[in-house]
């Protein structure tokens, strides 16, 4: 694939997709942390 084929939409979907997944994983981690803390207290 050449640079010309690497369209803005393709670049954006790659970049945004990773960050959205990362954020949701972080949020899931936060939820698990909240469940554990609520169980402790």
């Amino acid at each position: 694939m050449t640079d010309r084929d690497d369209t803005f939409a393709r670049q954006a979907s790659r970049g945004v997709g990773v960050i959205v997944l990362l954020s949701l994983a972080v949020a899931l981690g936060g939820w698990l942390m909240a469940v554990v803390v609520s169980w402790i207290f």
Binding site: D6, I19, A27, W31
Partner: protein, 501 residues
């Protein structure tokens, strides 16, 4: 020894600062157009007057100070320091004329907070502020955030412990300008993409939460701007607590995290280099510091009985910690509840999160996780040096776009900034204490101002003494400029008297 600057140096700094003011004026003019379309005549007048002043001052400065000299690194640092001070002066004009501020200083504070992406607010009766004036507050976040990232990726790569611009292979060009448009274009694309996706998600979620479609779109636009530029202003006085919606909060969490990541890292990810996310020293350090401060805060919430069920711990506690660590300052609880109901551990964790901040090369404030990572690596290296035989050669490496050897220069710069950050936070707390506020509350607000975060425990309010507001403006300025740009401007002024020709 300092070299005495000549008229050409100040002319160059003034020329570029004037261009910034003119640009801000054009944006203000567009906002005045919006006010006309909405029939908000008072706001249209206020924004029109502000735009007229900014455009005429900016154009006059641009024409009279026109210079063909190249902007070198010290000029660029001094320009950044001067531009923020001057731009806020013009940004404050419509705010003052809106009648929602106690005086010119309050309006300047608000504009400075907007343009530095801080989000601390001392507006009076925000819920009745005109829609177009509210748009202006948030637009200052947007341009301030964009300017911060571009400056961080170009000007602040010198002597501040950062590891380069988009790619490490790039040699430092003595001239700055060739890099700026390219970087600004990419940063604008990323901000626009997240902004539009955020507006879509937030319109849907606020509409499902009960807002009419038109209002949902307006709230969503302002919230998305605030979150992705890690600002902190919100359309209502209750901030995000107004919406009572877990989906709104989740959408904002995604936007705040995207805004807190280095745009150098975004660049790599947009080019498909996903490995960078897992290998980069900054992402690893960010994960570590986030786990520590959020874990501490969660235990604090539990111990103080502030929140004990999982849903509230997540929606209030976790959201607050994401907002603090990304130095955004969007809030889901009333400010005073932090003092009255949260005990000591959770607010202390918030202070720690704000002080550390997000990634270098983003619009976040604070010391930045890159510097924390470099200092931690340096401590590990020192421990190894003590433990290993004297003849052993200890080499510590880290990954930042490629494997790099830990050298003294970046570590020294990181330690300097860490110390300056801590000293500034403490100084702000002491000033607040001397003015009669509780030291811990003053320290909280001082840390928020220095790290450009919008949280406040009420020390910085419309009723705060004028001297405290001035100190807070100074803290926001130092924090946004990562200290050294402010020192450069001071250096120019001192060198006028003491420098040699």
């Amino acid at each position: 020894m300092l070299l005495r600057p000549d008229w050409d140096d100040f002319r160059l700094i003034g020329f570029h600062a004037a261009r910034v003011v003119a640009g801000l004026g054009v944006l203000m003019l567009a906002t005045a157009g919006l006010a006309v379309l909405r029939g908000e005549w008072n706001d249209a007048t206020a924004l029109g007057v502000g735009a007229g002043l900014a455009v005429s001052a900016g154009l006059t400065g641009t024409v009279r100070l026109r210079s063909r000299e190249h902007l070198d690194w010290s000029h660029a640092m001094a320009t950044a320091a001067a531009a923020w001070l001057v731009a806020a002066l013009f940004g404050a004009v419509p705010l003052f004329l809106s009648g929602h501020f106690g005086g010119p200083l309050d309006a300047y504070f608000e504009a400075f907070s907007g343009l530095t992406g801080t989000g601390l607010t001392i507006v009076q009766d925000l819920d009745h502020l005109g829609a177009s004036m509210n748009v202006w507050r948030h637009l200052m976040h947007l341009v301030g955030g964009l300017a911060t990232v571009v400056v961080a990726l170009t000007v602040f790569t010198v002597g501040t412990g950062q590891s380069g611009t988009f790619t490490v292979g790039e040699a430092r060009d003595d001239r700055i300008m060739p890099n700026v448009p390219r970087i600004a274009r990419f940063v604008s694309k990323v901000i626009a993409t997240y902004g539009l996706l955020g507006i879509l998600a937030l319109t849907l979620t606020t509409w499902l939460g009960g807002l009419p479609p038109g209002r949902a779109l307006w709230h969503a636009t302002l919230l998305a701007i605030s979150a992705v530029s890690t600002g902190g202003f919100a359309p209502t006085s209750m901030s995000v607590g107004f919406y009572h919606s877990g989906w709104v909060e989740l959408s904002l969490i995604v936007l705040m995290i995207a805004g807190a990541l280095s745009y150098g890292l975004h660049y790599q990810l947009w080019r498909g280099r996903r490995r960078e996310l897992f290998l980069h020293l900054e992402t690893r350090t960010l994960l570590g510091t986030f786990l520590v401060v959020t874990g501490g805060a969660m235990l604090g919430f539990g111990r103080s009985d502030a929140f004990t069920d999982a849903a509230m711990l997540f929606r209030k506690g976790f959201f607050t910690m994401v907002s603090a660590h990304t130095t955004t300052g969007l809030s889901v609880v009333a400010d005073r509840l932090v003092v009255t109901d949260w005990g000591l551990l959770a607010p202390a964790a918030m202070v720690g999160a704000m002080a550390v901040g997000g990634m270098a090369g983003s619009s976040t404030g604070g010391i930045k996780v890159l510097r924390m990572g470099l200092v931690a690596k340096s401590i590990v290296k020192d421990i190894k040096t003590v433990l290993l035989p004297e003849s052993a050669l200890v080499v510590e490496t880290y990954h930042a776009q490629r494997r790099q050897i830990l050298r003294d220069g970046p570590v020294r710069a990181a330690v300097s900034l860490l110390l300056l950050g801590l000293l500034t936070n403490m100084s702000g707390g002491i000033v607040g204490m001397l003015l009669g506020f509780d030291f811990t509350e003053a320290l909280f607000d001082a840390t928020a101002a220095t790290s450009n975060t919008g949280f406040s425990l009420g020390v910085l309010s419309p009723d705060a003494p004028a001297v405290l507001k001035l100190v807070a403006i100074g803290l926001m300025w130092f924090g946004r400029l990562e200290f050294f740009a402010a020192f450069t401007l001071f250096g120019y002024v001192i060198a006028l008297g003491r420098g040699r020709t």
